[in-house]
Symmetry: C2
Subunit: 182 residues, 2 copies
């Protein structure tokens, strides 16, 4: 992992992407003892449908907490992919939900396609955990935190009754990406 790693979770409002960012920041800091900043910035475009959440993880305190060049970006919708893939660093990663991003942007980054919402809906049985499927996928893709740390952070954020559901979602996301990237 580089000294400073920047991730962006983008999609539509209401998809739980802020929560996914918070869980990742907690996995890095509370579970693994690193430094992390999680943020969302809202401009007039916040009134539209696209939404994003950012996480910066570093071994040292983070002085400049604004994402500059994104190492890895998740896009759950076409609009988010078009809008938020622009700051991906050369050689970076873009994970898209293949059912909702039918024309992935082209650039100097690697595009990974997988069904995120449909995995949540059809394999976990609850569309609401799509954000946790996405989180598992991003952890597998970037390795910014270990699979165990990610799972621990997920479980500490959800009520008892939803733990199994979220654990399944996280691990399905993780395993599907691992199967894709080998």
């Amino acid at each position: 992992m580089a000294e400073r790693y920047e991730l962006r979770f983008s999609g539509a409002g209401g998809q739980g992407l802020i929560t996914a960012g918070i869980i990742l920041a907690e996995a890095a800091s509370i579970v693994e003892g690193k430094h992390a900043v999680q943020s969302q910035s809202y401009g007039p475009e916040a009134r539209g449908g696209a939404s994003k959440s950012e996480v910066i993880i570093a071994d040292e305190p983070i002085d400049y907490p604004k994402a500059t060049l994104v190492d890895a970006c998740l896009a759950m919708t076409q609009e988010a992919a078009d809008k938020y893939s622009k700051d991906i660093r050369p050689g970076g990663l873009l994970l898209v939900d293949e059912d909702f991003v039918q024309n992935p942007p082209v650039g100097d980054f690697k595009v990974i396609k997988m069904p995120i919402v449909n995995t949540a809906k059809n394999e976990v049985g609850r569309m609401i955990v799509a954000n946790v499927v996405a989180l598992g996928a991003m952890v597998a893709l970037t390795e910014v935190v270990s699979r165990e740390s990610g799972e621990t952070a997920v479980l500490s954020r959800v009520p008892e009754a939803f733990r199994e559901l979220n654990k399944t979602a996280f691990n399905l996301g993780f395993e599907k990406v691992k199967a894709l990237i080998g």
Copy 2:
């Protein structure tokens, strides 16, 4: 309101202070069309009990999203008050939960004391909405967004079944502060 206004919500983990920050940022941006950044930074101290969430609101895009001098700080616990009141700007504001911050820090800022958790518990009937009582109080104190915008943002974040409860919580917090500061 100054060109750039910085708020901090601090207390214990699990008190919903990140949510309070997100709602305020949404009130400023989605409801009122301003720019806002909401963030939490986690260092090794995130493993302890104190937790904070920050919101910056401005009329223009926010280039430097890290809180520098805090205009208004909420502290729900003594530990948070001791730790996070240090960056309040000269002449700024510190709102404390009077039942949990029995020795408010002294500095070049105005301290406002009110019962936050107890208002949620005894007057709303649900301790879990203490963060929304606190949000109403901070809106009344700082006027960074209007009462109506704050309420709209609260209601758009909570499920139908909890709307009345959260509306009551927000307005009780707002009115208690207004009664205190006149």
